[in-house]
Every structure is written in C-alpha cells, then in structure tokens.
C-alpha cells in the first residue's frame, strides 16, 4: 500500500459519514418531497404520458369503418416493416380486379417493435402510431394478432390522440380532395366538352356522310 504526504487532514471515515448523510437526507425527504420519489403507484396513478408517445400502429378510416378506410393495400409498410410483422392481402372482386382496399390487414403485436416506420412511409396517411399501452393478454398468439377490426380507428380518434398531426393531415387531405374534386370537375367538364365536341364532330360527320350519302 502506497502512502504519500497528506495536503489536508481529514477524519477517517468522513466519506462514510457523508454517504450516510446523503442516504439519510434522501430517506427523510422521501416522506415529504414528491420529486424525490422514483416510483409511481401504478394502477392508482400513472406516469404522465407524452402526447407524442407511440406504441403500436392503427389504421385510420373516415366515417365508415369499412368503406372509409384510407388504406389501399399498397404493401409499402409491409415491405418496409423492419421485423416484418405486417401481413396484407389485397381485396379483389370476382374478376380479380383490385378493389384498392385490404381484405386482410394483420399486425402481430408480439413481433412489432413500435418503430413507427410504417406510419412514416405510408403515402396515404392511413397508418399511425397509437398511444394505447395496456394491451396485455393471456392469449399469446390470437390475443396479440390484431386484425382489421381491432386496428381500424376513426379519424376522430386520431384527432383526439394527436391533434396537431391529425389536423395537418386532415387539412392536407382536404386540400387534396378539393384539388381532386376540382380536377375531377375539370375532367368532367373536359370530358363533357370532349363529348360534345365529339358529338358535334360526329354530327358533322354524320351530316357529311348523310350529305355524301345523299
């Protein structure tokens, strides 16, 4: 054991008493200082959850849970999902034509790792991260495999959960819709005009033909 020349003299065990003082202070203060406490008595009180907290994904629908589902079963999230926990089957009509909506949309919550990449890559504002966290179940397989029925949540729910994000999305969608409507109207008008033009042309042709015939 090496020794040296002390520069200042202390009592042996001073550090030990300092330690006792710190723990003693903590013990006494734990009775009246709330911010000292490390724990929360869970079922009665809950730690405050940030509004940005994300847990598992959910699917957004507007108005109608079936028809209003924003998801188009494009499978981008399925491909990007890091643990590959999303399973999508595209719905088709009898002719095999895509209906642009999922027939099956399953997320295995026992595999999902809450990363939020699905909601980030979704181009249709359809999938978002939920804040629900009390999802424990005693059914390991079925209970944690969420299908469309449990995943679909209304746009109002989204609005309540993340007002900022949802209102931004809604505004964008509204603008898109308006644009689309305008485009559709324009298209319609154009189609009409085209049709009229065609009609006129046809009529003209017919007239011509008639004329020729005649």
């Amino acid at each position: 054991m090496k020794t040296g020349k002390p520069t200042r003299w202390v009592l042996p065990g001073l550090g030990l008493f300092q330690g006792l003082a710190v723990t003693g202070k903590n013990m006494v203060q734990s009775f009246y200082k709330k911010e000292r406490m490390t724990t929360v008595q869970y079922p009665e009180e809950r730690a405050p959850i940030s509004p940005n907290f994300r847990n598992f994904p959910f699917l957004v629908y507007d108005k109608d849970p079936k028809a209003g589902l924003r998801c188009t079963a494009c499978s981008i999230c399925e491909k990007e999902c890091p643990p590959q926990c999303i399973y999508i089957v595209l719905d088709r009509d009898e002719n095999g034509k895509s209906l642009k909506r999922p027939k099956v949309f399953d997320i295995d919550l026992s595999v999902c790792m809450n990363c939020g990449i699905c909601s980030e890559v979704c181009p249709f504002d359809s999938i978002y991260m939920d804040g629900e966290y009390e999802l424990s179940t005693d059914d390991r397989f079925g209970g944690l495999l969420f299908g469309l029925d449990r995943l679909s949540k209304s746009a109002e729910y989204h609005m309540k959960l993340r007002p900022e994000q949802a209102s931004e999305v809604m505004a964008r969608r509204k603008a898109d819709e308006e644009k689309k409507a305008a485009a559709a109207a324009a298209k319609l008008a154009k189609a009409k005009a085209d049709a009229e033009a065609k009609k006129a042309e046809a009529e003209a042709k017919a007239a011509e033909g008639k004329g020729e015939d005649a």
Binding site: Y87, V104, D106, F141, G142, L145
Partner: protein
C-alpha cells in the same frame, strides 16, 4: 482528418519492397480508398504501419463475403494496369486503422482469401494488434475465414456445435423455426413443409 493513403502506400513500398500492396479506389462519395494487401505480407505491413506510421489503433475488422468477384471489384475499384479480376468468389477481411497520436484515419486495408472453401485463410494480426482477437474470432465464426496463427480460434457468438457460417451470402437458415398458430395461409403452408409429420 482523412488519411493520405498515397503517402502510406509509398512508405510501405519503400520499407517493404517485397510486400504486395495495391491501391483500390472507392467509387462512392465517402472518399475512403483502400489498400489491398497480399496475405503473405499482411502482418509485416500492419506492423510497419503501427511502428513507423503511428497507426496504433486497429479500430475495426470486418469480414465480407464476395461470392461474385465482380461485385467486389465494383466496390474497390482497380487502378489502371493492375491484376485481372478473380474468377472465383472469395472472403475478404477489411481493417480500419487509426492513429491516436497523429489523429488521422481511417486507413483501410483489405486482405482476401484464396477462395470460399478450404483455402479461406487470412493471416491473423493478433500478434500485432490485440484488438483483432475477438473480431477475428467473430469473422471466423460468422464467415468461416481461417485466421492462421490466431492463438484461440474458436466460435465466439454461435455455440461451439454450430456447423455453418451464418453471415455468408449463400447461408440457408435451418428448419428450426418455432411453430406458432397463425391465420396466415402462406405461413401455414411453410409450417406444413417444415413439419410434414404433424400435418
């Protein structure tokens, strides 16, 4: 501080004329070019770099599997007038060296095994850099590169009885996944394939 790889190459050539060292350029924007070192002179080159050019920190040792040699040459591009491309695939070990005193790096060195089979050998650099000890064991474990001269070449991450090298590109995952009840048809089909007796 990025490293002056040309100077390092010249230094090696001057000190170790017999060493087979060639520069390979990196086509990407990272500007990290590398030196391809012949296996027989790898330890000498590393020792020279450590003792005379102050590259005292062997930060990283990566194994890479190149079943298609053309791909390897696309990442580490030849200079002009150099050896021709290889015919067979090979395993590669990439070393990233830094200097703690001069604060430069990384100096990237590559060493390549003869093939991906029995001759997948690269000399061990543990005698020069202790930090390679576990990393070489890991590469041996996951890629199957045999480091000649390594003092304790055992599997490190996989268990001792494991046979294959899982990081190789042609590795096929074994049939040992856990069955779990699922409504998904293709998973069920897969399960049926794996458990023929049960279904």
């Amino acid at each position: 501080m990025s490293v002056d790889i040309g100077a390092a190459l010249q230094g090696i050539h001057a000190a170790l004329p017999a060493a087979k060292v060639a520069m390979r350029t990196n086509p990407g924007p990272s500007n990290q070019h590398s030196l391809l070192v012949g296996n027989e002179s790898l330890v000498d080159v590393l020792r020279f770099l450590r003792d005379h050019l102050d590259f005292d920190l062997l930060s990283n040792v990566s194994g890479v599997d190149w079943p298609d040699p053309a791909k390897a040459d696309a990442v580490a591009v030849f200079g002009e007038g150099e050896e021709t491309a290889r015919e067979h695939g090979f395993l590669e070990v990439v070393y990233h060296l830094y200097s703690t005193s001069r604060r430069v790096g990384p100096l990237v060195l590559r060493a390549r095994s003869a093939d991906r089979g029995e001759n997948a050998c690269v000399p061990s650099v543990v005698s020069v850099f202790r930090s390679a000890e576990f990393q070489e064991r890991e590469i041996f474990d996951l890629y199957g590169v045999i480091f000649t001269g390594h003092p304790d070449l055992r599997r490190i991450l996989m268990w001792d009885e494991f046979v294959d090298h899982p990081m190789r590109k042609d590795y096929v995952a074994p049939d040992d996944y856990e069955y779990e009840p699922t409504p998904h048809d293709d998973v069920l089909v897969k399960a049926k394939r794996h458990y023929p007796a049960e279904s």
